[in-house]
Structures are given as structure tokens and as C-alpha cells.
């Protein structure tokens, strides 16, 4: 009886994180085709973000091939990405790197999320592959001495910090108390810790952060604990599910800060869809907006890129997950062209010395593989759309405060 129950429990847990394993592929790289491996979350809890990332990679393939392909030495090569589903499981993302390696795929584009990227980076290093990371922002990935992982995006430490800076600079009268609700994954915790330090340095009173399980749709306990402190601002370092829950359950429980700010949720279209009017005024941090400065030969400026994306996806507006994915692909393409080779070590060395402007802003890596040359932006949901409000020079509209009006 106990064994039977144990088996049922095990299967129930398996269902809780289930997804397909993805199909096996065994093709070798054909002559004239530059094949890149990418493990993405097509199923499981991060499927939404995984699909947004895939769209960015697909735009890159489309544009590069539309302009004749990648120039590698004397040869033009068609760009192709081989996708595998990591079912939103980090360890599987790591295993898929080995599978790609067995297939001879040495050039890799990153999976979605810091957990999967950290697992993939370890395999990539061991296998002598090279990976450009599009969404793994946790600084912890870059403290392990890896030499073969490069992130085009700004690190986790800047996500919530950028919103603290924006509030400090743009909101008058200056709010006094900030409460933090953070998911308990590495990325969110890193973002929270950095923002708490910055907020304290700027003179804000910071309520001790409340941590909630990553991916939860119930943050009521954290809100009930925060409510008596009556904070001016609640900053959520959270993904979509938790981000939506923070705003929704605050209304339910009568928690009324003057404004909400959340890291990755607000710029995604689902945030406004799920919250409709309650999303109005929420601040969010973004890796990219259509006001981002810089151009490149493949995608032009940020607004050119937005048009290209809309053209490929039935007029849909791009948000930063797509842009950072395309930028990662762009960095790899630029490195292959500059190296004049698909040899992973040569591509790695070229990536390490890359210093290019792009629609995504500057792409230049430090010795840890992080791109610290670009800044994060802050958006605010205004009239149902994310609008760039900070930094001032890239703002589309002034920040409205109180944000929950």
C-alpha cells in the first residue's frame, strides 16, 4: 500500500512538471549551412517566455538569410537554428548541450532563464562549445570563471535597481518607504539584493524583502505581512505569474501603495492582458525599448527592428524578450563573420573582443562574459501599453505618479 501510494505521488509530481522531451535529431551540419543549437522552454512553466525568445531567434534567422546569409571567409552560409525543448527544466537544458555536442553543434544560443542558462553554461564550458546568452541575467552565472558564455543583456543586479533609480530621479515628492516582494529563484534574489542596497544608499526606508515561491499565483501571505507597514512603493522582483498576483491580490487585500514596480513582467503583453486596467501605471524594467540607441547592418535601428518583427508576426509589437534573443543571435553572427570561421575557439576569441553597436545598444563583453556597456530602461504601463520613461534621454513620455491612480 505504501509503495503504491509512493508511486502515485511520484507520478503526480511528474505531472506537476511534465512536458515533452522534444524530438531527437541526428543531422550533421551540411556544407553551406551554419547550424546553431538552442534549447528552449517550449513546454512547462516557462513556455511563454521560451516562445517569446524563440520568436527573437526566428527573426534573426529570417533577416540574416533574407540578406544572403552569413559571410564565413569566402563562403556564404545559410543560418539555421536547431531547437530542442528543455521542458522548462534546467538540468535538461544542460543535457541538451551534450546532445548538441554529440551532433557536432558547437555554436549555441542560450535557453530562457537564468537557471537553464547556468546549467547550459557548465556543459558548454566542458564540451568546448561557445554560447551567447540571451536571457540568463543572474550574475552568479558569471562568477564561475567560464570562458565560453557571453551574455548580451544587462545583468540581474540592474533590473530592480534601475526602477529604484527612476523613482528616485523622477518622482516628486520622493517616496519614503519601499517594500520588496521577490521570487526565490537566483535571478530574482540577485536583483532584489542589489536594489535593496541601492535603495538604502539613496535614503529610502526599506521593508525587509518577502520571498515567495518562484511561479506561484498566491502571494497573499507576503502582502498580509507587508500591509501594516503601508509602503509607498512595492517592488516585485518576479516573473509573470507572481507579478500579476502581486497587483491582483494587493487590490483584493486592500494593500494600496502609491505605485507598483516589477522587474520582468510588465513589458510582456500578457501582463496587460491578464490585469487589464489594474496594470495601468505599473513600472517595469526592460533590456530594450524602441528608443534604444544604436544601429547595425542587419537590423538597422531599434525602431527598424520593431518594424521587422511586426512584419514577421502579423503586426504584433515586439517586447524585450524577442529583442534580446535577436541580439544574442546577432552577436554570434557578427563573431562568426569577424572570425571568418565556425571554429568554436576562434568564435569565442572574437566574441571576447567584440565591440559593436547594434539595435540592442552596445555589445561588448567584460572578462567574465557580461555586457556592462548597455543600460537598462524603465517602462510604465500607460493607456494599456508599455511606454519608456527612464532614462530621460530615451523616454517616450513622462512618468506618471501616483502610479496606481
Amino acid at each position: 500500500m505504501r509503495l503504491k501510494l509512493a508511486v502515485i505521488v511520484a507520478l503526480a509530481f511528474a505531472v506537476a512538471g511534465c512536458g515533452s522531451k522534444g524530438e531527437q535529431t541526428n543531422t550533421n551540419v551540411p556544407t553551406g549551412t551554419l547550424t546553431i543549437g538552442a534549447s528552449l522552454s517550449s513546454t512547462g512553466s516557462l513556455a511563454r517566455e521560451g516562445i517569446l525568445t524563440k520568436e527573437g531567434y526566428d527573426v534573426c534567422v529570417n533577416v540574416v538569410n533574407g540578406k544572403g546569409g552569413v559571410q564565413v571567409g569566402n563562403q556564404k552560409m545559410k543560418l539555421e537554428i536547431k531547437y530542442q525543448d528543455d521542458t522548462s527544466k534546467s538540468d535538461l537544458a544542460g543535457q541538451l548541450m551534450d546532445q548538441f555536442n554529440d551532433q557536432g553543434l558547437k555554436l549555441i544560443l542560450g535557453p530562457y532563464g537564468s537557471g537553464a542558462t547556468a546549467a547550459a553554461a557548465a556543459s558548454v564550458e566542458r564540451n568546448g562549445q561557445v554560447m551567447v546568452d540571451s536571457s540568463g541575467a543572474d550574475d552568479a552565472i558569471f562568477t564561475k570563471g567560464y570562458k565560453r558564455t557571453f551574455a548580451v543583456l544587462s545583468p540581474a543586479t540592474l533590473y530592480a535597481t534601475s526602477m529604484v533609480e527612476a523613482i528616485n530621479e523622477l518622482v516628486t515628492p520622493k517616496p519614503t518607504t519601499i517594500a520588496f516582494i521577490s521570487a526565490d529563484d537566483g535571478f530574482s534574489k540577485t536583483a532584489t539584493a542589489a536594489a535593496v542596497t541601492r535603495a538604502q544608499a539613496l535614503g529610502f526606508t526599506v521593508i525587509p524583502p518577502e520571498f515567495v515561491p518562484n511561479g506561484t499565483t498566491d502571494v497573499s501571505s507576503a502582502l498580509t505581512k507587508i500591509k501594516p507597514t503601508n509602503p509607498d512603493v512595492i517592488i516585485g522582483s518576479a516573473h509573470l505569474a507572481e507579478g500579476v498576483a502581486i497587483v491582483k491580490q494587493s487590490t483584493e487585500l486592500g494593500v494600496k501603495p502609491k505605485g507598483f514596480a516589477e522587474t520582468v513582467a510588465p513589458p510582456t503583453p500578457d501582463f496587460v492582458q491578464a490585469l487589464s486596467k489594474s496594470a495601468e501605471g505599473v513600472l517595469g524594467s526592460t533590456q530594450w525599448t524602441i528608443k534604444t540607441k544604436g544601429t547595425d547592418k542587419w537590423f538597422g535601428s531599434a525602431s527598424d527592428y520593431a518594424k521587422t518583427f511586426a512584419g514577421q508576426f502579423n503586426g504584433r509589437e515586439v517586447e524585450y524578450h524577442g529583442a534580446e534573443a535577436t541580439a544574442a543571435c546577432l552577436a554570434l553572427v557578427l563573431a562568426v563573420e569577424k572570425a571568418g570561421s565556425t571554429d568554436p575557439t576562434k568564435v569565442r576569441d572574437t566574441l571576447a573582443g567584440l565591440n559593436e553597436q547594434s539595435f540592442f545598444g552596445p555589445i561588448k563583453f567584460n572578462d567574465k562574459g557580461q555586457n556592462l556597456t548597455k543600460t537598462m530602461g524603465v517602462i510604465q504601463i500607460q493607456n494599456g501599453k508599455p511606454v519608456s520613461v527612464w532614462p530621460k534621454e530615451a523616454a517616450e513620455a513622462p512618468l506618471k505618479w501616483p502610479g496606481n491612480a
Binding site: M1, K4, L5, V7, I8, V9, L11, A12, F13, A14, V15, A16, G17, C18, G19, S20, S42, T43, G44, S45, L46, A47, R48, G50, I51, S88, D184, I207, P208, E210, F211, V212, P213, T217, D218, V219, S220, S221, A222, T224, K225, K227, P228, T229, L240, A241, V244, A245, K248, T251, E252, L253, G254, D270, Q273, A274, L275, S276, S278
Partner: protein, 302 residues
């Protein structure tokens, strides 16, 4: 900064919110518990039925603007038909087989439904908008009772009472009960077991669909949530016990309370640890669950 002390109004708020959250969990779990109790089938696709219901209510709301709680009725009808057909045409084929086979079958069914929804809806997070669900009745002490969750909890209690009444007082209900107790004897009495099973599965799917409409209104949903909902249903069913129509309700309410208070008194990230510790303790002290009957628990056969 030191942790603040829990005030009187916080005690009331946490308890009320926990009970409401528990009511929602009970609504999700009641169908799961029914199928397990009557048919000895642990339906691992139950969470996928809940999400299917959420999408149907969402589609109806988008198309004709019908309130999601009213949209529960057409959603329940669609899910009843779906459940009946799946049981009659699929699960009935293996209902006599060892429990592992039904587990595998429903596991596969879950994969099909979840991935089908990801294909159709691109894994988007959705929520069914209403003007009132997030608003609250404010009690003295600034204790908030959100309308959406209150309605969901009232429906959960109403459905459980209706189910308990139907099972004891109607001919169909008695056949469901009889088939659950002894299929062979029920057949000898002229009960068409295949039909009764299909009706039971259909009823469970219909209730899952109604739960989906409620979940979609008070919270967000995406296909990826199916597994989590199945797990909640499983825990609520085990806590409450099988063979008693009130089992899922008790289990859900206890789970809601434990999560709310666990999150309040300890670190919020520990809510699942606290919830599963309570499950283990209940199983050790009372293996048949809070309201279950030992006969049904011991019937899990391999």
C-alpha cells in the same frame, strides 16, 4: 528590522483568506476525489480539464461578454460531454487493468491536452476580467473579503452539498455509490457500470471546468498550471479522504488554511513544505484522510 507582531486583524485576514483560497482548492479537487473514490482512477489529467474549463469560460467571455461565473454553466456542459466521451471511449478500455495503466493513460491524456493548449494559445498567461472579482467586502479591522474568491468558495460548498445530496437521494447517485462500492454486485443488480462510470467522469470533468472558470477569474492561468492543479487536487483528496463527498472540501479548506498560516508565521517560500508536512502527519495519524473511509483507501490496487 525586526519582524512585526501579528495583529488581531491580521489573524482574521489570514484565516478568512486561507479559507477562501481553500474553497477554491476544494472546487478544483472535488471532481478528482469523486473519480478516485468511485472508479479507483487517479486522473492525472484533472488539472488539464480545469485549464480547459478556464479557456472555455475565457473564450465565452471574450465572444459574448458572459460573466465567468455564469459561463460556468456552458463550460460544465462542454466538459461533461468531453469527460463522458473520454471515459466511455478511452478510460473504460483499461478500467479493469492495474492502476499503473490508468495512471499512464491519464498521464498521456494530460500531455496531449496541455501541449494541445500550448499550440492553440501559445502558453499565454490569461485572466478573465470582471469589474468585481478583485474588489472586496471590507469588514471591521480593515479585513478584506474579495468577492471573486467568496463566490468561488460558496460555489464549492454548494456543489459539494449538491453532490452529497445527489449521491444519497437520487437513483443515478445511488448507482454511482453502488458501483463504487462493488462493481460486480452493482452489475448483478442491473446497473450499467460503463454508463455510470462515464457519467461520473463527465460530472468530475464538468466540476473541473467550473473550477477552471473560477480560477481564471480570481487568478491567472496558462497550460503550464495543469500539473500544479492536479497536485493540489491530489493533496486535497488525500487530506480529505476518499469515499466521502465532503472529503475534498475538508481537504481543500485545510490546505488553504495551512498555506495561509504557514506563509504568515514562517518564510513565505516554505508554504509548500508546511502543506506537505501536514499531509504526511495526517496520513500517519489517520491514513484514510480526515473524512475518508478505510475501505476506499485500502482499495488502491496494483
Amino acid at each position: 528590522m525586526a519582524r512585526q507582531r501579528v495583529t488581531g486583524s491580521q489573524v482574521a485576514q489570514v484565516t478568512i483568506y486561507g479559507l477562501l483560497q481553500g474553497g477554491l482548492l476544494a472546487l478544483v479537487a472535488v471532481g478528482f476525489s469523486l473519480v478516485w473514490g468511485v472508479m479507483n482512477v487517479v486522473n492525472l489529467a484533472h488539472g488539464a480539464f480545469v485549464i480547459t474549463g478556464a479557456y472555455i469560460a475565457w473564450e465565452i467571455n471574450r465572444a459574448v461578454g458572459l460573466d465567468p461565473f455564469l459561463a460556468m454553466v456552458p463550460t460544465a456542459i462542454v466538459l461533461f460531454v468531453l469527460g463522458y466521451v473520454i471515459q466511455r471511449g478511452l478510460v473504460n478500455l483499461v478500467v479493469n487493468a492495474p492502476i499503473f495503466i490508468t495512471l499512464l493513460l491519464t498521464f498521456g491524456l494530460n500531455l496531449l491536452l496541455v501541449n494541445g493548449m500550448i499550440l492553440r494559445y501559445k502558453a499565454n498567461y490569461q485572466s478573465i476580467p470582471t469589474s468585481y472579482a478583485a474588489r472586496s467586502l471590507v469588514l471591521p479591522g480593515d479585513v478584506h473579503v474579495p468577492y471573486g474568491r467568496l463566490i468561488a468558495a460558496v460555489i464549492a460548498i454548494g456543489l459539494t452539498l449538491a453532490l452529497a445530496f445527489a449521491v444519497r437521494r437520487t437513483r443515478l447517485g445511488l448507482s454511482i455509490l453502488a458501483t463504487g462500492m462493488d462493481r460486480g454486485a452493482a452489475r448483478l443488480m442491473g446497473i450499467r457500470a460503463a454508463h455510470v462510470y462515464a457519467v461520473t467522469f463527465g460530472l468530475a470533468a464538468a466540476m473541473a471546468g467550473m473550477a477552471g472558470a473560477a480560477v481564471g477569474t480570481v487568478s491567472t492561468f496558462s497550460p503550464a498550471d495543469a500539473g500544479r492543479l492536479t497536485l493540489f487536487s491530489f493533496v486535497a483528496a488525500v487530506l480529505g479522504g476518499l469515499g466521502n463527498m465532503y472529503g475534498a472540501l475538508y481537504g481543500g479548506l485545510l490546505l488553504g488554511l495551512v498555506e495561509a498560516w504557514g506563509g504568515q508565521l514562517l518564510d513565505t517560500t516554505l508554504v509548500n513544505v508546511v502543506a506537505f508536512t501536514v499531509v504526511v502527519v495526517v496520513l500517519v495519524v489517520r491514513p484514510q484522510g480526515l473524512a475518508g473511509r478505510p475501505f476506499y483507501a485500502s482499495r488502491v490496487e496494483v
